[in-house]
């Protein structure tokens, strides 16, 4: 039998207060007593909508929306980045786009997140993985599907995988995810 929670979940939130305890008079004795007062804590909302530009990396997201996985390559050395990069880190030269959708890929590293940042808690448990591609020098962080998050094993490392694309693009890197190659 699974262990049942013994403590109630805590939540932020409170009541609007119409009176705060305070000495009726501010004589020296009462003012000194204020040093013993517990801190007042209030909530402050903080919500922002950013206009985020993908800049020179925009074609990579356009590629995902069209079910193609792009990468960046230095024309001279052939050094290839799975994450797009406008300029090569060694030569400083502008990179060119290549298509690696069909390139053989395998799991390089992974984890199963049973907890996560607030935004991703509803997804838990989910599998994060780093994918390596044949002929590509760097890795790609992505979600791995088609494996049991309740039974992680190091055998997943080296597993052949292939990209899948969301039908409805969100223009996010999660438009692509990987699953074991069929």
């Amino acid at each position: 039998m699974s262990k049942l929670p013994s403590r109630r979940e805590e939540t932020l939130g409170g009541y609007i207060v119409h009176g705060v305890p305070f000495p009726l008079s501010t004589d020296p004795e009462a003012l000194e007593f204020l040093k013993q007062m517990a801190p007042i804590q209030i909530e402050q909302d903080y919500q922002i909508t950013y206009l985020h530009s993908y800049g020179q990396d925009s074609p990579w997201f356009a590629g995902l929306a069209n079910k193609r996985l792009l990468a960046s390559r230095d024309a001279k050395s052939g050094y290839t980045y799975a994450n797009p990069r406008g300029h090569d880190m060694f030569s400083g030269a502008e990179t060119r786009w290549i298509d690696i959708t069909e390139v053989p890929a395998q799991v390089h590293a992974f984890t199963v997140c049973y907890f996560g940042s607030e935004e991703f808690l509803p997804d838990c448990p989910f599998v994060l993985s780093l994918i390596e591609f044949e002929g590509v020098n760097t890795l790609l962080l992505t979600r791995l599907m088609g494996v049991d998050p309740q039974a992680p094993t190091l055998d997943w490392i080296g597993m052949q995988v292939e990209p899948h694309f969301l039908r409805n693009s969100k223009l996010k890197p999660t438009d692509v995810y990987f699953a074991p190659k069929e």
Binding site: P39, N83, H108, F115, S117, E119, L121, L128, N137, P173
Partner: protein, 454 residues
């Protein structure tokens, strides 16, 4: 560069939450302690100190831009010069080094380095979200931004390539929690077993809750001085412990923000550019590494931190040491995760790459004379995180690297008993120690070497 001495420090109690005080008042706890420890009053020290460097990581957590100037004001240091530094988890270590530069360059004779973080203002999972914003927000964060997840991926690769086990990771947790049992500044002072660690709630496989440090509120401060600064303070009545503690080595390294973008370098490039002097000089070690590479290891990949290796090598060269395991008497390193302590053993040359797991369980990094409840095959050689580290003390980011500096100063002054009211964690005859501060997935790393003179 002029000689720089670390003469004093103070640490506020690290806690999950400190709603009792605002951040400037928490910093003042650490600051006042550092001043009082050299026997000066507030006004006298304030008159002499030339300026400060401030350290905090996140404007999101603080929800207060230019927070450092509020601290500078509260500490009574206006209008003296100051600036804030930021470099993720390494912010405190960077702050310490920037204060060192201020003194070493001749710009200041007495420089205060202080840092803080107040991470309790949001729920834990929102805090994790804020921290994960220290990953590329175009490519990494949206996939499931979560630092425990990033580090867990490094672990699975380390396990796959080198045979590291979760039980070896758990040895780090047992060690650091038990060390903290004797440190009143720590917040998780616990006697644990390997089974306790492995049976704790799984956060990101294979890391459990007891493999991971906790977000905290807290502050720390250190005072660095030149020889002229020392004279000024002593002329004003300061009682400064002898022998002095000198900062003899400074190193810093960097790596790509996206862990996936780290290179996978070949054996020759590794040996030429990253191997320690000790590794280069050993035929057996060169053969060991050749064998690793023949079985697929590439450097740094995701299992190693070249920023840490770069920082360590730089600091060791500066401090003229080449055998860190035997020439350092202790290390306070950035164990945000048990796994990162193991990775850092390797980066700092305490053992070879791939041997961190075995090193963790060997006993070499444990304090002598403490009963950990473990069967350790080897004697202590270089205690790592005798304070309990981040895992047990907590990790109020901007304060953490400075907390390490304070504990190192006290170790080298031989004053642990005075400050901890318990001598159990005093490293006997401590002559030289290193502090290591680490950001992101290994993006900024600092290593500083401190030595007792004489």
């Amino acid at each position: 560069m002029r000689p720089v001495y670390a003469i004093s420090g103070g640490v506020s109690k690290f806690a999950k939450a400190r709603p009792d005080k605002t951040f400037p008042a928490i910093i003042k706890e650490a600051y006042d302690y550092a001043i009082q420890d050299i026997g000066l009053d507030f006004e006298t020290f304030t008159h002499i100190v030339d300026g400060s460097v401030a350290s905090y990581f996140s404007d999101h957590f603080a929800r207060q831009l230019m927070a450092a100037i509020m601290a500078q004001d509260y500490l009574g240091l206006c209008p003296k010069p100051s600036h804030r530094v930021e470099g993720g988890g390494a912010t405190g270590g960077i702050c310490f080094q920037e204060a060192w530069k201020s003194v070493a360059s001749g710009h200041m004779d007495v420089c205060l380095a202080y840092g803080f973080e107040t991470m309790s203002h949001v729920e834990t999972w929102k805090g994790n979200e804020f921290i994960a914003l220290a990953s590329d927000v175009s490519f990494d964060y949206p996939v499931g931004g979560f630092y425990s997840g990033y580090y867990a991926m490094m672990v699975t690769r380390h396990m796959k390539e080198f045979g590291t086990t979760p039980e070896q990771l758990a040895h780090v947790s047992v060690k650091n929690h038990l060390n903290a049992y004797h440190n009143p500044y720590a917040q998780k002072r616990r006697k644990l077993t390997v089974a306790d660690v492995r049976n704790a709630p799984m956060v990101a496989w294979p890391l459990t809750r007891l493999d991971i440090c906790v977000m905290s509120d807290g502050a720390a401060a250190t005072i660095l001085v030149s020889e002229e600064g020392l004279k000024k303070l002593e002329a004003a009545g300061a009682v400064i412990a002898r022998p002095l503690v000198k900062v003899t080595g400074i190193g810093r390294g960097t790596d790509a923000m996206r862990m996936a973008d780290r290179p996978h370098l070949d054996y020759d490039f590794f040996m030429e550019n990253y191997a320690t002097e000790q590794e280069k000089a050993s035929d057996e070690t060169r053969a060991y590494y050749k064998n690793l590479w023949q079985h697929g290891t590439r450097y740094p990949g995701v299992h190693s931190f070249r920023a840490g290796r770069t920082a360590g090598n730089m600091a060791y060269r500066h401090a003229a040491l080449s055998d860190p395991l035997h020439e350092l008497d202790f290390v306070e390193l950035h164990d945000a995760y048990t796994s990162s302590e193991i990775q850092t053993y390797e980066d700092l040359g305490l053992c070879r790459y791939g041997e961190g797991g075995a090193f963790a369980a060997s006993g070499k990094a444990f304090m002598p004379g403490l009963d950990y409840g473990l069967k350790l095959a080897e004697q202590s050689e270089c205690p790592v995180n005798p304070s309990g580290g981040l895992i047990a003390c907590g990790h109020p980011v901007g304060a953490t690297g400075l907390m390490q500096a304070v504990f190192a100063i006290w170790q080298l002054q031989g004053s642990i008993k005075k400050h901890f009211r318990d001598a159990a964690l005093q490293v006997k005859q401590a002559r030289r120690g290193a502090i290591h501060s680490h950001a992101g997935t290994g993006t900024y790393v600092t290593v500083s070497v401190l030595e007792r003179e004489g």
